[in-house]
Symmetry: C2
Subunit: 395 residues, 2 copies
């Protein structure tokens, strides 16, 4: 039997890391691998009330198909969230998606033909690479420093690739590095997009989880020409199990997106949408997010302190002001995939950083998640990881 798969099927391979990480389901393993929120903070009791109320008041709507764009009530609530962030938006400027991941797939579908260029941070979000890769683009990576993507490097990339389709960026507490794009660069990236006639996909799942420093406006706040496609989610603030994301963009982009979304899944889970609306009506989402931030802040420091104490001198790591991740750079001669294999024997896991570079390389890097483990396990996990590094390193 011939499989007759498409070209993209041959191109997109299963990740070996994903296979390795299947062991993290074993509760003995201390996992810094996933990007999972802390489940002990999920508002389970509140959700019981929310489910009952939604079924009581709008059961027939909650269990039926709904419009591809999403329920107006939810789009309205999200438009206020956007306005509070300094982005002027009406409900018509918002479309609900099945997690923000679906936005990435759909924007790939809207813009990318084979061989088209995507400009992104180096490194960038693994599953954005997967989403875009389906459409067989080329990735042009732009170097970062502690202030995010370097604007001179971005400009050089734009000059050299004026036919690029869009710039993909995660400005706040970037996945995987935890870095945040500075205020100056937020203004500059919009100027560059205007100058080079480029779209920007601003992927912002973590912005609300800032536990230190000052809030920065989204890139879209500076958008003067409708070039910024802002993507976000309730996964990090409310719960990921709802699979609720949204996109705020110019009407022409949204129109295309809705056409493709219809073919992709008709509509996003109706019940989940109404639950989100009702939760925000009955409870205090901001108050809930405050609790999350407090817990994550402590966990970040637990991880940093353990790293300061146990890690070999040569390991360099970031200190994010929010989000879920710390990024580690090791000397060139250490391969983080080997570190992972040995770590798993030592019952600790993480994601090797090489996976976050669409064009490969950088195998001496690691992404550590701190949101999903209690402090005492974080310390123990870092100790175990440091033991592995000490054996492999020449420190």
């Amino acid at each position: 039997m011939s499989m007759k798969f498409s070209k993209r099927s041959d191109h997109v391979k299963a990740s070996d890391v994903r296979e390795l990480l299947k062991v993290t389901q074993n509760p003995e393993i201390i996992s810094f691998a996933g990007g999972f929120p802390a489940p002990e903070l999920f508002p389970i009791e509140e959700m019981k009330i929310v489910c009952n109320t939604v079924l009581e008041e709008q059961g027939d709507k909650a269990l039926q198909y709904s419009s591809t764009e999403g329920f107006l009530a939810l789009r309205k609530t999200i438009s206020s969230i956007m306005n509070n962030l300094g982005v002027s938006a009406f409900s018509e400027d918002i479309v609900i998606t099945s997690g923000s991941q679906q936005c990435l797939d759909l924007t790939g579908k809207i813009f990318l033909d084979e061989g088209d260029i995507v400009i992104c941070e180096s490194p960038t979000y693994l599953a954005a690479i997967s989403a875009f890769q389906c459409y067989l683009p080329r990735f042009v990576e732009v170097e970062m420093d502690d202030q995010g993507m370097k604007m001179d490097k971005l400009e050089a990339a734009l000059k050299e690739n004026s036919q690029a389709k869009f710039i993909y960026t995660i400005p706040d507490f970037q996945n995987p590095t935890g870095r945040t794009l500075s205020l100056e660069r937020r203004k500059r990236i919009v100027e560059l997009a205007n100058e080079y006639d480029m779209f920007i996909i601003e992927d912002n799942p973590y912005g609300a989880i800032r536990f230190e420093g000052n809030n920065l406006p989204p890139i879209k706040h500076f958008d003067t020409e409708g070039r910024v496609i802002y993507v976000s989610t309730f996964s990090k603030t409310l719960t990921p199990g709802l699979r609720l994301g949204w996109v705020c963009a110019n009407p022409e982009v949204l129109r295309k997106l809705v056409i493709f979304k219809q073919g992709a899944d008709l509509n996003t889970n109706s019940f989940a949408q109404l639950k989100a609306v009702k939760y925000m009506e009955l409870f205090d989402l901001e108050g809930h997010v405050s609790k999350i931030k407090e817990v994550y802040r402590k966990r970040k420091y637990a991880m940093l302190e353990a790293m300061d104490k146990h890690m070999p001198e040569y390991a360099k790591y970031t200190n994010p002001e929010g989000g879920l991740f710390i990024w580690v750079e090791l000397p060139d001669y250490i391969n983080a995939r080997e570190v992972l294999a040995k770590s798993i024997e030592n019952k600790v896991a993480f994601v090797p950083g090489g996976s976050f570079y669409p064009n490969g390389g950088h195998e001496n890097t690691m992404r550590l998640n701190f949101s999903n483990m209690p402090e005492e396990r974080i310390e123990e996990g870092i100790k175990r990881l440091a033991e592995v590094l000490k054996v492999l390193g020449r420190d």
Copy 2:
């Protein structure tokens, strides 16, 4: 600002019918347009218990990310459903998707390069056309009769298009025609697939909603070489709002599908998956489906009787043994899009049949849904529709 959309974006257009049908949200309009289940049959009280129990017992799992393949408990339950249908399947042979619509998008992604051929029924499901169209294939339509796709025509199509990627078929109470593929043809289509080295996508959302006649085994029951990709959903049996579908296929296809699903939405709503499992544990899904069938049977006859009474002689229509739809053929000189425009003035709506032909034409056809309206409104709606036809026709 240049939009820089992909080729597929220029190719896939918003449906004008979709715009027309936005008026069906007006409750004054009697709508035979959507493929919506009857909301008054939704098990709302049971769902309250289900939500509470899931949150009580597994709240942290319900609200967290989950595996791309879906929860094992749900895959196991579905494998029993498949076994009861005469398809031998283990839980590993099942992957959960965000509605069966997502399966169509993902199978398109797996198989289709630009210019590839999809063989399908003429007419076929509108949103399958949309899903596949993203990948820029050519559609080869195969004529149907009351027994479904004609096998001699299918064989001719296969001979002429031996490089086709797959046959897409809806064997039970097809959308839009309501027709069912006969037992003999189910065997024959598998023989042809084997002979011509072809995959079959068997889309079966309606099979469980048979209210007359004898059950027929799915095409996959006759599959000897792992060529049939069986796709189904809980939308018509439990509720569409959950957005829960599944695919049962050979391991190599499922492996590809999971890779692409990860890029498309990471995982299907965790809470919805656990709700489906719990519902089937606590309540009697089959008993619930019996109630649905009884109501739909009555509604179908209400529609057929009203049509016999009010419709002009020249209108020919199907009499389905299950599902949600009746198909109407009018004389060539009547354009159903014009009928729709006039019908909406007369406060009744349906979907013009031309939309279901990927290569166009057949504008003299209409799809009528009978599941979503009570019997008295069905009679009234058909009366209104017949009035429009009488004005337009030369009966």
